[in-house]
């Protein structure tokens, strides 16, 4: 895929120099094409994902979901919805701060669009394989919260403001274990380039498992996926927009195309976090491939990589939707407790164990396991000798 793309680029540069254009023109053309492709991908996948989510939710609740528009299983429902949203009247509430109100959806969408720069779709197919890939992703994803706060505040609506405050608290809290969980695979690969992370997962574990980081780093994967759900404001972490208490949270005053931008950004963000999970833990575009007839080996490897990457991303998206229609919403205090008292210690422990194993070799795991068993046995023995508290009594220190 790399050679095909660079051949196309050379053709473009050659054409520009024959026409006597400066070197920046083909560069800008390539830039525009890349942005256009990414935007088209986001728009199409958002429409598909919305339809898919409605279908999944319907089937989980033993319904059919949209069935009429377009014929086969209502496949054109999202297109109809998009046209409806585009044609709607643009409403800005009279009490709103107009500049911030208009800017907010743009900031949210721009943040998720910018994350697509470093997603490695296939071997050699990446907009820019930055040196600081993972760090860039983490930094950019924190921008979306800013847009949400802007939306919540500028709407001049108490439900919107409450949703924005909840969103800010949630995003800041869950970002800490998220970054710590990402560090596990980064330490194993020794790079934060997205392409380098995929390359580090070539080969097999124990001769039969693909060398994906999800196997040694399953704890980090669990922490990452939980935090990613929270970063996307997905159930069970959707308290910023909890319908039953906050109407719709931060975007309650938005309608028409501005609302559609928030909606698109949410699905675009889901794709981004799934793509990061795929790159860091599930081996990226790696998977079995064969040379297709009539194509070069490299190109068919690239095409297979593209399909494998999409398959993994869509599997994770399916899990996210599945969880949404299965789990209950958490309360605010449960949410905060979970981030700081459960996820953060787990992420730290994973980091320490990963570091120790990397520095001291795998044998340390056996010694540590033995010590852990001894400690557990000692704890169990100690617990059996302690008198059990009277049932129903409030333990001291828990009052007030």
């Amino acid at each position: 895929m790399t050679t095909t793309l660079s051949w196309l680029g050379e053709q473009l540069y050659g054409l520009a120099s024959r026409l006597g254009l400066p070197g920046i023109v083909p560069f800008l053309v390539i830039l525009a094409v890349a942005v256009g492709v990414v935007l088209a991908y986001i728009a199409v996948s958002c429409m598909f994902l919305i339809w898919w989510e409605r279908k999944i939710s319907a089937h989980i609740q033993v319904r059919f979901g949209p069935m009429r528009v377009g014929g086969w299983h209502g496949w054109a429902q999202s297109i109809a919805d998009a046209i409806k949203l585009l044609l709607k009247e643009d409403i800005i509430p009279s009490g709103a701060d107009k500049v911030v109100f208009v800017l907010a959806p743009m900031v949210v969408f721009a943040a998720s669009l910018a994350s697509y720069v470093t997603i490695p779709w296939a071997p050699g197919l990446i907009v820019r394989d930055l040196n600081i890939g993972v760090l860039y992703m983490v930094a950019i994803s924190s921008l979306a919260v800013v847009g949400i706060i802007m939306a919540g505040w500028s709407s001049n609506n108490k439900y919107a403001t409450l949703g924005a405050i909840r969103s800010a608290a949630q995003a800041v809290s869950y970002e800490v274990p998220l970054v710590l969980s990402i560090l596990g695979p980064v330490m194993m690969a020794g790079t934060i380039r997205m392409g380098g992370l995929v390359d580090a997962q070539a080969g097999t574990w124990l001769g039969f498992l693909p060398r994906w980081f999800v196997f040694p780093q399953f704890v980090a994967f669990f922490v990452y996926f939980t935090c990613a759900l929270a970063e996307c404001n997905r159930l069970p972490f959707d308290i910023p927009e909890a319908e039953s208490e906050l109407v719709a949270g931060f975007h309650v005053e938005y309608s028409g195309m501005r609302f559609a931008m928030f909606f698109m950004a949410e699905y675009a963000n889901m794709i981004v976090v799934s793509a990061i999970a795929t790159t860091l833990f599930l081996g990226g575009w790696k998977g079995p491939w064969v040379t297709l007839p009539g194509l070069s080996a490299e190109l068919s490897r690239g095409l297979f990589g593209l399909v494998w990457f999409q398959a993994k991303v869509y599997f994770l998206l399916f899990v996210m939707m599945w969880l949404r229609w299965t789990l209950n919403r958490l309360r605010v205090d449960q949410l905060m407790d979970f981030a700081w008292k459960v996820l953060l210690p787990i992420a730290f422990a994973n980091l320490i164990v990963t570091g120790l194993v990397l520095m001291l070799g795998k044998e340390i795991l056996f010694y540590a396991g033995g010590l852990g068993l001894l400690a557990a046995a000692a704890l169990v023995l100690a617990a059996r000798h302690r008198p059990s508290p009277t049932p129903g009594a409030v333990p001291a220190g828990k009052v007030g």
Binding site: I24, D97, V99, V100, L103, L130, N131, I132, L135, Y136, V138, A139, I140, S142, L143, V145, V146, I149, M150, W153, T161, A164, I165, A168, A169, A171, V172, E175, I192
Partner: protein, 163 residues
């Protein structure tokens, strides 16, 4: 004018404009939002200087962390976002003197030219270099800062739990 220079001037103007909104804005939430744009502009300037790691950290810490906490605090303070704040206070003369002094220094430096304190960096990738330096040459300051931050965190929790 090369494209890079044009981009620099655009980013510089953008950053200064956002900074001016922060200082002169009468509405505190708008000022905080403008602060975010100003930080992003500075991060983009870092990218122009090949300091990509610094740029990402700038966005992560200042935009993703500090400004969001700032906005959080503003929203929790009752009615502060409705009130217009005073932009100029009693120390206007003193601060004018200080900023004029800085302006004079910067103008002198850019017209006459002061030699760079360190040579231009020759590091191909900044991130591994930074990591290695932080854990070898500069490990003591690094640890001291870590302990300071830990102490600040513990102090914040103690203060918050006092009631």
């Amino acid at each position: 004018m090369t494209p890079k220079l044009a981009i620099f001037y655009f980013l510089a103007a953008f950053t200064v404009w956002a900074g001016a909104v922060v200082v002169l804005g009468k509405n505190i939430v708008r000022a905080a939002v403008a602060l975010i744009f100003s930080f992003c502009g500075i991060a983009a300037l870092f990218v122009l200087l090949d300091a990509d790691f610094l740029a990402a950290v700038q966005v992560l810490i200042y935009v993703g962390g500090i400004t969001i906490l700032l906005l959080f605090a503003i929203m929790l303070t009752s009615r502060i976002s409705v009130r217009t704040v005073r932009v100029i206070n009693d120390q206007v003369v003193l601060s004018a003197l200080a900023s004029l002094g800085i302006l004079a220094g910067l103008a002198y430096a850019s017209v006459k030219g002061i030699g760079p304190l360190v040579g231009p960096p020759t590091i191909p990738e900044t991130t591994p270099f930074l990591g290695r330096e932080l854990l070898t040459t500069y490990v003591l300051p690094f640890e001291v800062v870590s302990i300071l931050l830990l102490a600040a965190m513990v102090g914040a929790i103690v203060l918050a739990r006092k009631e």
